[in-house]
């Protein structure tokens, strides 16, 4: 081809066309552009997601502005919407969940990566992956019929008797409420913490452990001071990741939080969360403003989870790269 195109102008352009045709017939250009289109559609969908929520929440944003976030009246009849009780409920349940799930998850991840024999570790990780696959409505179903009665008759009265002097454990024991929702969330996010933390811990180079053990540190000292601190950023990433899950979790929380838009210090009191109010009111929203207020809540949720996930992924990528880099 090269020899032909050097001869003269018109023939050169003809040959260029011919080259193009040949490439089209062999299909590589087409295949490239088709796959490129499909791959970029993921970027388009992500952008569209943000755009749609932003546009659709317009009326609510215009009317309430920043007041939306710190006022507490949620009244569809009079068109007054303040989201504070829902934001509060989401934050409180997430914090309660992290409080229980983080130590449990990191402990289990340490066991799986540092102590358990490889075969046992693989088997247990398999079970934990299955736990992560259990649908959230199943957790909700179990919680409604087993955890809630247990909380009402046993756990909450016990907490009131022993820790009742704290403001967190006051008021009647309903069974449903922040604490119950937090416990269910904790059970749901533990598998994520474990599987991501385990990956990150396994990426810590072996010579770090050997050096520490060689200096006479005990197994625990090596694990805690060397391995865990080396993988610290990645473990932090796993916590952010599961925090994002907890913030957006809908069904299980809706079934056990009590669905009352109240702000209470007591963890035993019923409350409401952002995702729950969307789930309960969206299909029957009374009018445009109500709908747009609910969509604004969705936008809040989206923004929170995007930021947390973005941070988490970066931390995890950085940690595993560092591990791999040293190992080589």
């Amino acid at each position: 081809m090269g020899t032909v195109s050097t001869v003269a102008g018109p023939e050169a352009s003809g040959s260029r066309l011919w080259v193009l045709l040949r490439r089209l017939r062999s299909g590589d250009t087409i295949a490239h552009s088709i796959t490129f289109t499909f791959a970029s559609s993921i970027l388009v969908i992500t952008a569209l997601l943000v755009y749609e929520l932003w546009i659709q929440s317009g009326p609510s944003r215009a009317k309430f502005g920043w007041h939306f976030f710190y006022t507490s009246t949620w009244d569809p009849v009079f068109g007054q919407f303040g989201a504070w009780p829902f934001i509060y409920g989401t934050l409180v349940t997430t914090i309660v969940a992290l409080f229980m799930a983080v130590p449990l998850g990191i402990g289990a991840a340490i066991f799986l990566s540092e102590l358990a024999p490889p075969k046992l570790s693989r088997g247990l990780s398999f079970v934990i992956d299955l736990l992560a696959a259990v649908p959230s409505v199943i957790y909700g179903l179990l919680a409604v019929f087993t955890l809630v009665p247990l909380m009402r008759t046993t756990v909450e009265p016990f907490l009131k008797k022993t820790l009742g002097f704290l403001p967190f454990f006051k008021g009647p024991a309903y069974g449903v409420g922040f604490l119950t929702a937090g416990i269910v969330l904790a059970v749901m996010i533990v598998p994520y913490i474990i599987s991501v933390s385990r990956e990150v811990l396994l990426a810590v180079p072996q010579d770090q452990r050997e050096a520490s053990l060689g200096l006479g540190a005990t197994k625990w000292e090596t694990t805690w001071k060397i391995v865990v601190s080396y993988a610290g950023a990645g473990i932090m990433g796993s916590v952010f990741l599961s925090m994002a899950r907890a913030l957006g979790e809908t069904m299980a929380v809706t079934m056990v939080i009590g669905n009352q838009p109240k702000v209470s210090t007591s963890l035993l009191a019923p409350g409401y969360s952002i995702a729950s109010v969307i789930a309960n009111e969206f299909a029957e929203a009374a009018g445009n403003l109500h709908l747009s207020a609910l969509i604004e809540l969705g936008l809040v949720l989206l923004a929170l989870t995007l930021v947390l996930n973005g941070l988490a992924r970066l931390l995890i990528v950085l940690t595993s790269r560092r591990g791999a880099g040293v190992a080589r």
Partner: protein, 282 residues
């Protein structure tokens, strides 16, 4: 041995035991869940549960046939959205993309994977329900399909990348163009993994309730075509569990057992097949 040494050794044993206990507690959660569901659910599963429509509110009996069919319909629709975009996108990432652009797409997919399912529901509502002016199976399937995309994309890319380079080079050496190599050599070689990825993604969205609440909406009866609201298994569990009737609670347990059974069997089977395959390959 001085006191400090005793303390260090003691701490070692105690802390390591605690980590073991953490693992034990977490793993036992699965068996508690299975146990409760089997115990409560098995008592109300019989044949008519799978073949009958729901009974009118307050009456005893009835089944969830329409919800099972509805879930199947929604999953098929979801696969129509999720599989092409996820798979072809994965082919681009594995075969064509430069490192920078691939990183951006992967990052976006991971972000999308973390978006709460209820927000995806709002998205499907805004895109489809608003323009069609009514709830439909189509909107529900679209929402689930969007959720499938990042899962399929990421796992298919992994499987495509495990196809050995020598296979690609062999195909090209006998004169196949790049896309022919991909279609006839690379994708078939990774087909086991790709099918696994699709099944796992379907098992994941099969249990999603939140995005269906205001897209597929639910239905007491059979839904005809794709244009009507439809029932789905997870929504039935939610509605029955929150209802005040004992008989519906019983059915919620049974439906829960069916759903969890389907999800876990899919997960276990595909993972076992996959691990056998990879161990054979090694």
């Amino acid at each position: 041995m001085n006191l400090r040494m005793v303390w260090r050794k003691g701490l070692n044993v105690v802390m390591l035991t605690i980590t073991g206990a953490c693992a034990l507690v977490t793993v036992s959660a699965l068996f508690v869940i299975l146990g409760f569901l089997a115990w409560h659910g098995a008592r109300s599963i019989h044949w008519s549960f799978f073949t009958h429509l729901p009974a009118p509110t307050g009456e005893i009996g009835g089944g969830i046939a329409n919800a099972i069919v509805g879930s199947g319909k929604l999953l098929l629709l979801a696969a129509c959205v999720g599989v092409p975009i996820g798979l072809i996108g994965a082919i681009y990432l594995a075969e064509y993309a430069g490192a920078g652009f691939a990183f951006i797409i992967r990052y976006a997919a991971d972000l999308m994977n973390g978006v709460p399912s209820i927000v995806i529901g709002i998205f499907a509502y805004a895109i489809i329900v608003v323009s069609m002016h009514h709830f439909s199976a189509l909107a529900g399937g679209f929402a689930l399909g969007i959720m499938m995309i990042p899962v399929i994309l990421r796992s298919c890319e992994e499987f495509l990348k495990t196809v050995p380079r020598s296979l690609r080079e062999g195909a090209m050496a006998v004169g196949a163009s790049k896309w022919k190599t991909i279609v006839t050599v690379v994708v078939p070689a990774a087909s086991g993994g790709i099918i696994t990825a699709i099944l796992l993604a379907m098992a994941r969205v099969a249990g999603e309730t939140a995005p269906l609440l205001f897209t597929a909406f639910g239905n007491q009866f059979w839904s005809r075509g794709l244009n009507q609201p439809t029932a789905a298994l997870p929504m039935v569990i939610y509605n029955y569990a929150m209802s005040p009737y004992d008989d519906l609670h019983r059915q919620a347990w049974a439906a829960g057992l069916v759903l969890l059974g389907l999800v876990l069997v899919t997960n276990i089977a595909t993972r076992l097949v996959l691990s056998r395959r990879t161990s054979q390959a090694r």
